[in-house]
Structure formats: structure tokens, C-alpha cells
């Protein structure tokens, strides 16, 4: 199991489009992927779940990945967050 912290860099936060990008990426991996905020544990493969986080710029989320491809999944998701979802930072 990999546990790490990811941060939202883009100005608009994780709105619908970044949420869809994140979910699509997460769905490519076999591992169970979770994001935690304020005790809310959501499945990163669920669009409703990711949007529920309503993660604004600067907010930090705990990323938990568990499964056969956890290393790849964790680094890919961290990279996506760091890229600001290709949006204005």
C-alpha cells in the first residue's frame, strides 16, 4: 500500500474536467485508489466521488493506492496533480 500527499496546483481546483481526467487515469489501473479529505474517503475511480472533494487550489489530499500496480498508479496520479491538469496554475 502506498500513502502519499498530493496537492492541487491549478487555479480552478478539481472541477469537472480535471475530475474526469483523474477518474479516467485511475480506471486504467487494477489497484484500489482512494483520496482522503477531512476524513472523507473516496474512490478515485468514481467521478461523483472525486467531485465531492470539491478540492480547491492549494488543498492537500491523501492518496492511498493498494494493488498489483500501485507504484505506477501512485506516480501517474501524483504527476497529474503536479501538472495542474494542464490548466493555469
Amino acid at each position: 500500500m502506498i500513502t502519499t500527499i498530493v496537492r492541487v496546483h491549478n487555479r480552478a481546483g478539481v472541477h469537472t474536467r480535471p475530475a474526469a481526467m483523474l477518474v479516467k487515469l485511475a480506471a486504467q489501473y487494477k489497484s484500489e485508489i482512494y483520496l482522503v479529505r477531512d476524513g472523507f474517503n473516496i474512490n478515485a475511480k468514481s467521478i461523483i466521488g472525486v467531485m465531492t472533494l470539491a478540492a480547491e487550489q492549494g488543498c492537500e489530499l491523501e492518496l492511498i493506492v493498494e494493488g498489483p500496480d500501485e507504484t505506477d498508479a501512485a506516480s501517474a496520479i501524483a504527476k497529474l496533480f503536479n501538472s495542474g491538469f494542464g490548466e493555469q496554475m
Binding site: A27, E32, Y34, V36, D38, G39, F40, N41, I42, N43, K45, S46, I47, I48, G49, M51, T52, A54, E66, G67
Partner: protein, 338 residues
């Protein structure tokens, strides 16, 4: 891989006095805006009779201070100077709020003392016992343990069923199918569970999501808009957990129903059913059956047990009568050729 990954329980550390104003206790502020942002950090109440009388050794000042008849009439029985002195004694502590039952309104000089110390004074029309009950229940709910789980939560024939299982297994589709058949959706995707009293688990959705749901390939839909008010509800007691998993032939599934399994959520044991799914299996109908079976059991009829008892009787009967055995339900068809 556990199908139900719940985050560790979270607890609210505090609520503000302002939140009491919109709570079920129907309080109104006697001190205006004063102290409405004070935080309440404890779910217990305190009746400060001894503190008013002068004994402040174990004064739990940080709790909500409840003034019932005793406190009110005790203060009233004192001379104005002694009354102010007694009241100032408890105001010298960091009291968040004073709630007066029976709509008792404290003397203006006492209210001013409270205002000076930034203590909110509220009044409620309910009598002391009722106020204690309502306030305790409200505070209990506010400070209770809370977890969020990934699943779908539906009221099926009045039974709160929580469907869990890995992503993409079809929880939302089952919930949608159940809604279509007249059952009511409580929450999809993120279910927030709170512990009520000692053995009850209440489930609800999040305020942002409400009754929106994602159907793969379709996107986000709004169940309330689509199916109307009768298709939803805001909260429901969680009574059953259905763990959906892809059928695994190496695994053993419950065949007789005699062994009941439960799942522990925050110390509450909830009956659980592991349901293997495979193409062509109508999970919706099975879910309804699970709910009905649960209701039968709740009302004292356990089909597994009844069948097992019947089998025992039959074995016993055959041991005693050595004759031929007719296995048909009806042994003589009375010229009925239909």
C-alpha cells in the same frame, strides 16, 4: 481486497452556539449576537446549581449550562446583590452558552453580566426534561462518530440496504434498477454513516452530491429530477450490507442461510450478505428478496430454520415408519387433470 474500505471515524471537535439556533431545541438568543460564535466542545449538559451556590470545584463550565426551574428560582430568591454575585461566579469561567428552559428570561443585569463576558444566553419554550432530552440528542448526533464508505444506499421495502463492492461492479446500476421498481435512493457513491445511540447506524449522502449518480457510459444523472420525490429519501437506518463481488468458483457462498454473517462498522454489527454476481443474474430481484427475507426474520420467521426443522421431522418420521414414502406435496389429485 476488502470491498468496504471505510476511513477511520471522524468526530466533530466543536460546533458553534449559532448552530443551536437552527437545531431542534427552538432556542432564541436573549443576548443578541453575543457569544454566538463560541464553540461547544462537549456533548454533555450541565446544570450549574452547585456552582451558583458557590461550589465550583468540579464545575464543568465548558459544557452547555442548562438553567431549569431550580437555577432560575434560586437566583430569583436571592437579593439583587447576591444574585449578581452568584451569577458572576459562573460567568467568571469560560462558559460557552447558557440555555434557559421554560422560556425563563434572566434579569437584565444578569444578561448584561453574561454579555460582558461574551457568554450567549438562549431561551427555549420547552420544559427542563424535554430540553435535556432534545439538547442531548442533538449534541449526541453532532458529536457522534462518522465514516464515509464507497457504495450505494437504498431503502428497499423499508429496509436500509448498503451495496458495496469494487469500482465498476454495478452498484449504481442496481440502485437505479431498484429506484425504477419503486424503491428509494438515499445516497450513491459516497455514503456517510453516523452512529446513533449505541446500536444504530444512520446513513445519508453528502450535501453536494444529494441524489446525483453516475451511470458509466452515460455520465451524471439526477435521480430526484428524473424519478420524482418518491424515488428518494435523505436518511435511513442502515440495516443490511450487501457485498457484491464477481463470482469466484473457488469461494464458498452461503447456501442454506443458516449461518448469518455480520460486519462491524464503528462497533455496530450489521447483518451482511456476500452476493456473487455473474452475467444474467438479476441482482435487483435478489436484492428485493434479501430485503423481504430480512423483514420475515425480523418478524420472527426464518425460512432456513423452518426448512431445516422440517427436514429433521421428516428424517425422524421415516425412521419411525418403515413403509413406502410419497414425496409429492399432494398425494391424491382428486380427478384434477389441470
Amino acid at each position: 481486497m476488502p470491498s468496504l474500505r471505510a476511513s477511520p471515524p471522524v468526530f466533530k471537535e466543536s460546533i458553534t452556539v449559532r448552530e443551536l439556533l437552527t437545531g431542534p431545541v427552538h432556542v432564541r438568543a436573549l443576548t443578541g449576537e453575543v457569544g454566538l460564535d463560541n464553540s461547544i466542545t462537549d456533548k454533555s449538559l450541565h446544570r450549574p446549581q452547585l456552582a451558583l451556590a458557590g461550589y465550583t470545584e468540579f464545575f464543568t463550565y465548558y459544557r452547555v449550562q442548562l438553567f431549569g426551574n431550580t437555577e432560575f428560582f434560586y437566583l430569583k430568591s436571592l437579593s439583587p446583590e447576591r444574585r449578581a454575585e452568584a451569577f458572576a461566579r459562573i460567568c467568571s469561567f469560560n462558559v460557552p452558552v447558557i440555555v434557559c428552559a421554560n422560556d425563563h428570561v434572566l434579569e437584565p443585569d444578569l444578561l448584561q453580566l453574561a454579555e460582558e463576558k461574551g457568554i450567549a444566553v438562549l431561551a427555549t419554550p420547552f420544559d427542563t426534561t424535554k430540553t435535556i432530552y432534545l439538547l442531548s440528542e442533538y449534541l449526541d448526533d453532532q458529536f457522534t462518530a462518522q465514516i464515509s464508505v464507497h457504495g450505494s444506499f437504498v431503502d428497499v421495502y423499508g429496509v436500509g440496504m448498503l451495496f458495496t463492492g469494487s469500482s465498476g461492479i454495478g452498484k449504481s446500476e442496481i440502485a437505479l434498477d431498484l429506484v425504477e421498481r419503486g424503491h428509494r435512493l438515499v445516497a450513491d457513491d459516497i455514503v456517510v454513516l453516523t452512529k446513533k445511540r449505541e446500536s444504530i447506524l444512520m446513513g445519508t449522502g453528502t450535501s453536494l452530491v444529494k441524489h446525483f449518480m453516475e451511470i458509466r457510459g452515460l455520465g451524471v444523472i439526477d435521480v430526484r429530477e428524473m424519478f420524482g420525490i418518491r424515488s428518494i429519501r435523505f436518511q435511513k437506518r442502515c440495516e443490511l450490507i450487501v457485498e457484491l463481488e464477481v463470482y469466484d468458483e473457488k469461494r464458498e457462498y452461503n447456501r442454506t442461510g443458516l449461518d448469518e454473517s455480520t460486519m462491524d462498522l464503528m462497533g455496530v454489527e450489521i447483518p451482511s450478505v456476500k452476493l456473487p454476481i455473474f452475467p444474467g443474474k438479476n441482482v435487483t430481484v435478489i436484492s428485493e428478496t434479501i430485503a423481504l427475507n430480512y423483514l420475515l426474520r425480523t418478524y420472527g420467521y426464518n425460512a432456513s430454520k423452518v426448512f431445516s426443522d422440517r427436514l429433521q421431522e421428516e428424517i425422524q418420521r421415516r425412521r419411525n415408519t418403515k413403509g413406502s414414502v410419497d414425496q409429492r406435496t399432494v398425494t391424491y389429485f382428486q380427478s384434477d387433470d389441470e
